[in-house]
């Protein structure tokens, strides 16, 4: 149990060997939100996007193939669970793995989009997500080398983690989630299917919230 004045009281911990996921007031709130969004992605039907032909009063509805929806839905749910893992895990390396999983499922969600523009943006995003694994895992490696442990429980409040590792961790998550590099994400969101593309942004925001907490705690 660590009681830091950052994220509220510790509620519950789940020992999986050396990886101990924990619920604090903060992460429990985030986890509740993730669960709500997983439910929405699992059971909601997608929007049917309308296109307006400008200059006239005509509009048409884009058609959605059943198979594409199924794949996006599956990946959105996978993305939700990856986010849940990233929010709850108590180990830095485990967190980086979940972050990478979020990155790859994000691309998977829009993989079935037919729009060239969206796919181009997703391609750029994929490249960045690949580059981002270097600072991400690099941060975990530096933390292990300089402190001798990866557990957030042990690291909490010690202040032993060098600034370099923290910066690289944030940079890595930024790359996986493209949170502030706004443009890649915005173009991807033009793809249709509301609950699924919503998951892309949702996961990256939660990753960002979680990494904020980790960086403040360790």
């Amino acid at each position: 149990m660590f009681d830091l004045n950052i994220e509220g009281a510790e509620l519950f911990a789940l020992p999986f060997g050396d990886i101990v996921p924990y619920f604090s007031v903060y992460s429990a709130t985030l986890a509740a939100f993730v669960l709500i969004f997983i439910l929405i992605a699992a059971f909601d039907r997608p929007e049917r996007q309308l296109n307006i032909i400008f200059g006239g009063d005509a509009f048409y509805e884009k058609e959605i193939k059943e198979g594409d929806t199924r794949f996006s839905r599956f990946m959105a749910i996978a993305c939700g669970f990856a986010t849940l893992g990233a929010v709850l895990t108590g180990d830095i390396f485990n967190f980086t793995l979940f972050a990478v999983l979020v990155g790859i499922t994000n691309i998977a969600i829009v993989a079935s989009a037919g729009n060239h523009h969206v796919l181009n943006a997703a391609f750029q995003y994929g490249i960045v997500a690949m580059i981002a694994t270097v600072p991400l895992f690099g941060a975990a490696a530096i933390i292990l080398a300089t402190t001798g442990t990866l557990s957030i429980w042990t690291l909490a409040g010690m202040g032993a983690v060098p600034l370099l590792a923290k910066a690289m961790l944030i940079l890595g998550v930024m790359g996986e989630g493209i949170a502030p590099l706004y443009i890649g994400k915005a173009e991807i969101i033009r793809a249709q299917g509301a609950p699924f593309v919503l998951m892309i942004h949702f996961s990256s925001l939660l990753l960002f919230l979680r990494v904020t907490e980790i960086v403040l705690v360790i």
């Binding site: 060997g17 101990v20 485990n94 181009n120 001798g148 042990t154 060098p162 590099l181």
Partner: protein
């Protein structure tokens, strides 16, 4: 105006990887400058001495088969069977190990050989996530391939 220029660069998504690379380079250069101030702490988690003469060469963590061995974990209280898995060899693998010093990897890989305890027992969630990443990668590739077939 500089803001106009900056937003012009940032609003084009083909610059995305370039912008990100610049940020990584800045952090890495600042990081290289700070390396002398970091010190190595190798004694805390998962220490390992490599015994080059052992028949199980790179995988040997010591210990007697069917008994336990000394393995360090962050939370030993969460892994009650710590040390038993690494020392686990079936009679066949035991015979192999005694017969030849050149079958290290083979012995480890076959059923009843050593399971890397650190990876599979104490950090089991990591292995699950790693395989999931691979599976998702395969799923995306398969989906894209099949989609091209449909059209």
């Amino acid at each position: 105006m500089i803001i106009r220029k900056l937003s012009g660069i940032l609003s084009n998504f083909t610059n995305l990887s370039r912008v990100y690379a610049v940020m990584v380079i800045i952090v890495v250069i600042a990081g290289i400058a700070s390396i002398p101030s970091l010190d190595y702490q190798g004694d805390r988690l998962y220490p390992k001495t490599i015994d080059r003469d052992s028949p199980l060469d790179p995988y040997d963590r010591g210990g007697i088969p069917f008994e336990s061995t000394v393995v360090l974990a962050e939370y030993p209280e969460n892994s009650p069977y710590l040390g038993y898995i690494t020392a686990y060899l079936t009679p066949l693998s035991l015979a192999l190990a005694a017969a030849t010093p050149h079958m290290g990897t083979t012995i480890v890989a076959h059923p009843g050989g050593i399971i890397d305890e650190i990876l599979y027992a104490t950090r089991g969630l990591d292995t699950v996530v790693e395989t999931t990443i691979l599976f998702v990668g395969f799923a995306v590739a398969a989906h894209l391939f099949r989609r091209r077939e449909d059209e």
